[in-house]
C-alpha cells in the first residue's frame, strides 16, 4: 500500500496546525485513501492504477490549505512565537537577552565602538560624580549630621574698613556666605545667651605645637584646642579611654589630651597603655585621656586633620573686652530638636543685638552667621566648582549618548528586514521596542562595567590632583553609592541612546520595508535625517566643551606666565617657630640671631647656592606683617599700609627678586650700623611717585627713621593671582622676630638638601622642629592646582567631545556615501569630476557641522557664565576662544568627512550602476 502521508503533510505545510492535530488529520485522510485504494484493487485495478485514481481524490487547485486556514484550528498559536505576548508583559525577556547577545556578537565592530564610547563617557561621569558626591553631596559621618551647624561672626563692612582676615595681597574670599572667626569674648557671651543649641563648642585650630619626647627629634604636630562640648556636638566618644569634660576647662586642670587614631598608631605604635601616660607638648606634660576611633577625623576628610585635642581655656584677658582683639575661634553647634536653622539664626541675632547694645564700641555691626556644617566645610565656591565639573562631564556623556544612538540607527538600517519579519509574525510594537531597548541597555550596562574600571583609575588620579584646600579630599573613592549611580547611568544612557532608534525602527511600515530593496526608502531617509540631527547635537555640545576647555587653558597659561616677581625653582623653604618656655612672654623672644647663625651655617653647605631667612613670612605663605609707612614731611593720600619683612642679606638673591635701583642688604647692615630699608617698586610708586627713593628716609611700623638703600621688583604675596601689595624689607639684624622661614636656593633637587638642613637647624635650635617644609615649586603648584585640574579635565572632556563628534560625522558621511553610491556613479558617468564629488560630500558635512557650531556657539555664550568664577584674566565671551573652538571642530569634522569623500570620489561608475 502506498504511503500517502508525505503528500498530505506537504499539502498541510502552510497551515498553522497544532502538531498533534496535524497528525490526526494526516492519519484520517491517509486512512481514507487506504480505503479507496483497497476498494479499487478489490474491484480489479492494478496497484499502480489504484494509486493514481486514489491520488485523484485531491482537487486540482490544492484547496486543503486554504480551507483549513479558514478554520480556527488552522491558527494554532505557538506558546512563545517571536512576536506574541500581551502589550506590556515581560514574557520572553530572557529570549530577548539571548537574542541581543547573539545580535551583538555578530556585529563586533558596532559593539566595540559603542562600548568604547560608553566606557569613556560613563567612566568620566562616574569618576567626577565620585568626587562631587564625596566632597559636596554626602552627609557628614556623624549621628544626626544635618542638625550640626557652624556658627561664626558676620561683620558688616563699612566703607574703607577692612575685614579682619583679608590680608592685602591675598585672594578675596569667594564665598559670600563664609563665616568669620570669632573673638573669645563674643563666644563666651553667645553661650550664655543662646537657647537654640543642644550643645555648642569652640575650636582653636591655630598655633604651632611641638611634641618633644626626650631622646627623639622634635616633631611638629597639629593640635586643636576645643571645649569639652566639641565631642557632644559631634556625638563622638574615644575608642579607648574617655573624653575630657567641662571640669578640665580650668587653668591648671587643662593639661589633658585626646589623640587621633592615626597619630596614636604612628607615634605610639597603637599601644593601648597610652591612656594615663603623659606626653610632653610644647614643653609641658599632658595626660592622655583617650584615643578617638579610626574613622573619626576633623575637619572631616581633610588631608591635614587634627592629631590631638586639648581643652580650650580662655586666658583672663580673653574674658573681658579690651583693645586687644583676636578673632581666632571657630564654632560648631548641634541644633535643639525643636529648633529650625532659621529660628536659630533669628534667636542668635537677638543675642548679637544684645551684645552690640552692651558693647557699642567693639561690636557695632556684628551679627552671627549660622550654616550647616557641611556647607561650611565645603564652601560655596567648591560647591559651584563641583557643579561646573559635573555639568561639563554630563555634556561629555550626552555626546556619548548621541554617538551611540547614531550607531544604533546605523545598525537598525541593517536590521529593518529582521524587525519587519518579526512585526509580520505578529510582534507588537512594544515587543519590538523592548527588544531594541534590551539591546541598548545591555550594551550600556557592559559599557558601564568598563566605565567603572576607567573611573577607578580616574578617581585615583583625581584624588591626587585635587587641591588640598578642598574639603573631604581624603574620602574620595568609588563605593556602593557611586556604583548605584553608575548603574542608574547605564539604564539612562541605554534608554536615551536606544529609544529614538527603537521607536523609529519599530514604526509600522512593514510592507514598505519588506518590499524595499534595502535602501533609498522612507525609513532610511528618516533615519538619515535623525542621524544628521544627532551629529548637529554632538557638534553643538562639543563646541560648548571646547570653549570651556579653551577658557581654562587660557586661564592657566595666563597664571603660569604671570611674572610672580620671584623664581621658585630649586628653592627650599621651611618655617621655624621656637617653642616658648612655660610662662615666657612671646615679645621677649628674638629668633633673629638664631636665624643668622643657621643661615651662615647653611651657606657653607655644599650644593647651597644661596641661604637666607625671612620673617615673618615668604611669598605664597599667609604669614604677613601689615603695617603703616610714612615719609617725613610728606602727606600721602590713600592707603599707606605696607607688608613688612625682615630678611637676611641673601633673601632677594635666593628668590631671584631683581634689584632695580641702589643696593641689596649685605654684611655691613648690622644692628649697630645705619638703619636701612629696601622698597618694592609698588611701594616706591605709592610713596615717591616718579622720584628716586634711594637715600630718602621713611618711618615704618613706628620705628625710628630708616634710609632707603634700594628698590627691588614686586614679588607676589599670599596669592599668585593678586597684584602685589607695596612691600618693604628691613635687615634681619635690625629687627626682632618671633618666627621666620629659611629660604635656600640649591644647585640640585631641593628635597635632597633637606636632611642636612634639618641637621643644621637641630644644631642651633635643638628643641624646635622644621614646620611647613616645602619647595617653592610645590607652593606654586598647590596654588595653581585648581586651575591645572580644571584645565586638564576640561581639555580631556573637550578632546573627548571633539573625537566623539568627529566619529559621529564620519559615521554619517560614510553611511551617506554608501547609500548614494549609485547616485554618485550616475553623476560621475555624466561627467562630474572627483573634486566635485569630494566637494559634494564635504558640503553635506559642512552643513551639519556649521549648524552644530552655530547652536553650540550660542549655547556656549550663555553657559560660559557658569565658568566665569574659574576664569583668570580672560573674558568669558572672548571672541578668539569661540572662533578657535569652532575652527577646531570644523577642521576635525572636515577631516572626518574626508575619508568618506575620498571613497565617494573613487566610486567606479560602471560598478556603481551595475549594482542592483
Amino acid at each position: 500500500m502506498p504511503d500517502w502521508k508525505p503528500e498530505i503533510r506537504a499539502r498541510l505545510a502552510s497551515v498553522r496546525l497544532a502538531p498533534a492535530r496535524e497528525e490526526e488529520i494526516v492519519e484520517e485522510m491517509s486512512q481514507h485513501l487506504d480505503d479507496r485504494w483497497r476498494e479499487l484493487v478489490a474491484g480489479g485495478a492494478t496497484p499502480e492504477e489504484a494509486e493514481r485514481t486514489a491520488r485523484g481524490a485531491f482537487s486540482k487547485e490544492d484547496v486543503l490549505a486554504p480551507y483549513l486556514s479558514a478554520l480556527r484550528q488552522g491558527h494554532w498559536a505557538d506558546p512563545a512565537p517571536p512576536g506574541s505576548g500581551r502589550a506590556l508583559s515581560l514574557q520572553g525577556l530572557g529570549a530577548d537577552f539571548r537574542q541581543s547577545i547573539r545580535g551583538l556578537r555578530t556585529s563586533p565592530s558596532f559593539t566595540i565602538a559603542a562600548l568604547v564610547v560608553l566606557a569613556l563617557g560613563i567612566g568620566a561621569t562616574t569618576a567626577i560624580f565620585a568626587v562631587v558626591d564625596n566632597v559636596v553631596l554626602r552627609a557628614l559621618p556623624f549621628d544626626d549630621a544635618d542638625r550640626i551647624v557652624a556658627v561664626g561672626e558676620r561683620i558688616a563692612m563699612e566703607k574703607g574698613r577692612k575685614g579682619p582676615f583679608i590680608m592685602p595681597g591675598s585672594a578675596p574670599p569667594t564665598d559670600p556666605q563664609a563665616l568669620q572667626q570669632i573673638e573669645p569674648q563674643n563666644y563666651l557671651d553667645w553661650i550664655t545667651g543662646q537657647r537654640v543649641f543642644e550643645s555648642i563648642a569652640a575650636i582653636d585650630q591655630w598655633g604651632e605645637n611641638t611634641l618633644l619626647v626626650p631622646g627623639s627629634a622634635p616633631e611638629a604636630i597639629i593640635r586643636h584646642r576645643v571645649t569639652a562640648s566639641f565631642f557632644d556636638v559631634l556625638r563622638v566618644r574615644p575608642a579607648i579611654g574617655h573624653v575630657f569634660t567641662a571640669d578640665n576647662e580650668v587653668d591648671g586642670r587643662d593639661r589633658v589630651a585626646i589623640l587621633s587614631d592615626a597619630f596614636w598608631r604612628r607615634r605610639f605604635g597603637g599601644d593601648p597603655r597610652i591612656v594615663g601616660r603623659t606626653i610632653p607638648i610644647n614643653g609641658e606634660p599632658y595626660e592622655v585621656l583617650g584615643v578617638m576611633p579610626a574613622k573619626f577625623n576633623y575637619p572631616v576628610g581633610a588631608l591635614q586633620s587634627a592629631e590631638l585635642w586639648v581643652p580650650w581655656v580662655p586666658t583672663p584677658s580673653e574674658r573681658v573686652r579690651s583693645k586687644m582683639r583676636g578673632f581666632y575661634l571657630q564654632s560648631i553647634a548641634r541644633l535643639r530638636p525643636d529648633v529650625s536653622i532659621d529660628e536659630a539664626r533669628a534667636q542668635m541675632n537677638q543675642v548679637a543685638a544684645t551684645i552690640e547694645q552692651a558693647n557699642p564700641q567693639s561690636n557695632k555691626g556684628h551679627t552671627i552667621g549660622i550654616r550647616p556644617l557641611r556647607d561650611h566645610l565645603v564652601g560655596a565656591s567648591t560647591k559651584s566648582w563641583m557643579g561646573m565639573l559635573l555639568a561639563a562631564v554630563g555634556t561629555v556623556l550626552l555626546i556619548a549618548c548621541a554617538n551611540v544612538a547614531s550607531l544604533w540607527l546605523a545598525r537598525a538600517a541593517a536590521r529593518d528586514r529582521d524587525i519587519a519579519v518579526r512585526a509580520a509574525l505578529g510582534a507588537g510594537r512594544w515587543r519590538l521596542v523592548r527588544l531594541l531597548l534590551v539591546e541598548s541597555v545591555m550594551v550600556s550596562a557592559i559599557g558601564t562595567a568598563l566605565g567603572i574600571a576607567v573611573a577607578w583609575q580616574a578617581v585615583r588620579v583625581l584624588r591626587a590632583a585635587m587641591p588640598e584646600s578642598v574639603a573631604r579630599v581624603a574620602t574620595i573613592a568609588i563605593d556602593g553609592r557611586v556604583l548605584a549611580v553608575a548603574a542608574g547611568l547605564a539604564l539612562v544612557t541605554g534608554i536615551l541612546s536606544g529609544i529614538v532608534p527603537a521607536l523609529q525602527s519599530s514604526s509600522p511600515r512593514l510592507a514598505a520595508t519588506l518590499n524595499e530593496s534595502s535602501r533609498g526608502g522612507g525609513a532610511s531617509r528618516a533615519r538619515r535625517r535623525l542621524r544628521g540631527a544627532l551629529v548637529v547635537i554632538e557638534v553643538a555640545l562639543a563646541v560648548v566643551l571646547l570653549v570651556g576647555a579653551a577658557l581654562f587653558i587660557g586661564s592657566f597659561v595666563r597664571v603660569i606666565r604671570l611674572d610672580f616677581g620671584f623664581q621658585g625653582d630649586r628653592v627650599l623653604t621651611a618655617q621655624l617657630v621656637p617653642q616658648l618656655r612655660p610662662g615666657q612672654d612671646s615679645r621677649s623672644v628674638d629668633l633673629g640671631p638664631a636665624l643668622d647663625d643657621i643661615v651662615s651655617r647653611l651657606q657653607r653647605m655644599p650644593g647651597v647656592l644661596e641661604a637666607s631667612a625671612s620673617a615673618p613670612g615668604i611669598p605664597l605663605r599667609v604669614n604677613m606683617h601689615i603695617t603703616g609707612l610714612t615719609v617725613p614731611g610728606r602727606v600721602i593720600e590713600g592707603d599707606t599700609s605696607v607688608s613688612l619683612k625682615s630678611v637676611s642679606s641673601g633673601y632677594h638673591r635666593a628668590l631671584t627678586i631683581p634689584l632695580r635701583r641702589g643696593r641689596l642688604f649685605d654684611a655691613t647692615d648690622q644692628a649697630t650700623s645705619a638703619w636701612v630699608i629696601i622698597l618694592s617698586e609698588a611701594a616706591a610708586r605709592v610713596f615717591f611717585r616718579d622720584e628716586d627713593p634711594v637715600g630718602r628716609n621713611v618711618v615704618v611700623d613706628g620705628e625710628r627713621e630708616r634710609t632707603v638703600v634700594g628698590v627691588v621688583g614686586n614679588a607676589r604675596q599670599a596669592s599668585l593671582e593678586i597684584n602685589p601689595h607695596p612691600e618693604v624689607y628691613r635687615p634681619l639684624t635690625q629687627a626682632t622676630s618671633r618666627s621666620g622661614y629659611v629660604v635656600i636656593r640649591t644647585s640640585g633637587n631641593p628635597a635632597d638638601a633637606l636632611p642636612e638642613v634639618r641637621a643644621v637647624v637641630a644644631s642651633v635650635l635643638p628643641h624646635d622642629p622644621l614646620r611647613y617644609v616645602s619647595s617653592m615649586d610645590e607652593l606654586i603648584a598647590r596654588q595653581t592646582a585648581t586651575r591645572r585640574l580644571n584645565m586638564v579635565m576640561l581639555s580631556l572632556f573637550g578632546a573627548l567631545g571633539l573625537a566623539l563628534s568627529a566619529i559621529g560625522v564620519f559615521g554619517v558621511m560614510a553611511h551617506l556615501v554608501t547609500v548614494r553610491t549609485r547616485e554618485i556613479g550616475v553623476r560621475m558617468a555624466l561627467g562630474a569630476s572627483r573634486v566635485q564629488i569630494v566637494g559634494m560630500v564635504l558640503r553635506n558635512a559642512a552643513v551639519l557641522v556649521l549648524t552644530g557650531v552655530a547652536i553650540g556657539g550660542v549655547a556656549g555664550w550663555y553657559l560660559t557664565a557658569l565658568a566665569k568664577p574659574f576664569i583668570f584674566a580672560l573674558d568669558a565671551h572672548d571672541p578668539r576662544t569661540f572662533m578657535l573652538s569652532a575652527a577646531a571642530l570644523f577642521l576635525a569634522a572636515l577631516l572626518a568627512s574626508y575619508l568618506p569623500a575620498r571613497r565617494a570620489a573613487s566610486v567606479d561608475p560602471t560598478v556603481a550602476l551595475r549594482r542592483e
Binding site: R11, E24, I25, E28, M29, Q31, H32, L33, D35, R36, A57, F58, S59, D62, V63, L64, Y67, L68, A70, L71, R72, Q73
Partner: protein, 117 residues
C-alpha cells in the same frame, strides 16, 4: 443591491447543500469520512462527489460549529477510525436547513415549473 455576485451565490448554494448532505447522512447513524464520501457518491448515482481535500475541511468546520462530533473509535483487530455523529445542536440545524431547502426547492420548482404549466 444593484448587482448579484452569481459566483458567490453558487458557492453558498453548494456549501449549504454540502452541509445538508453530511448532516442528513449522519442523522441515522455515526459514520466515518470515507463512508460519507462513498454514500454521497452512490446515493446520487455518481452525480455528487467530494474531493478529499474539501470533504475533511467541511467536516472539521461542522465540528468547530459543534453540529457534529468526531471521536476516535477503536475496534478489536482494526485500525482506529474517526467517527462523526450528529449533536443535538446539529439536529436542530438539520431540521431548519431541511425546511429552508424544501422551501427553496419549491420556489425553484414554482419558477421553473411555470414555464411548463
Amino acid at each position: 443591491m444593484t448587482d448579484i455576485d452569481t459566483r458567490a451565490l453558487d458557492r453558498e448554494l453548494k456549501k449549504g447543500s454540502a452541509e445538508l448532505l453530511i448532516l442528513s447522512l449522519l442523522e441515522a447513524q455515526p459514520r466515518h469520512g470515507y463512508d460519507l464520501s462513498k454514500l454521497i457518491r452512490s446515493r446520487s448515482n455518481g452525480t455528487l462527489s467530494f474531493h478529499i481535500d474539501s470533504l475533511y475541511p467541511l467536516l472539521y468546520r461542522l465540528e468547530e460549529r459543534a453540529w457534529i462530533k468526531g471521536v476516535w473509535v477503536e475496534n478489536a483487530g482494526e485500525r482506529r477510525r474517526r467517527v462523526y455523529r450528529l449533536t443535538a445542536e446539529g439536529r436542530k440545524v438539520l431540521s431548519r436547513q431541511r425546511k429552508t431547502w424544501a422551501a427553496f426547492v419549491e420556489a425553484v420548482r414554482l419558477v421553473t415549473g411555470d414555464e411548463h404549466a
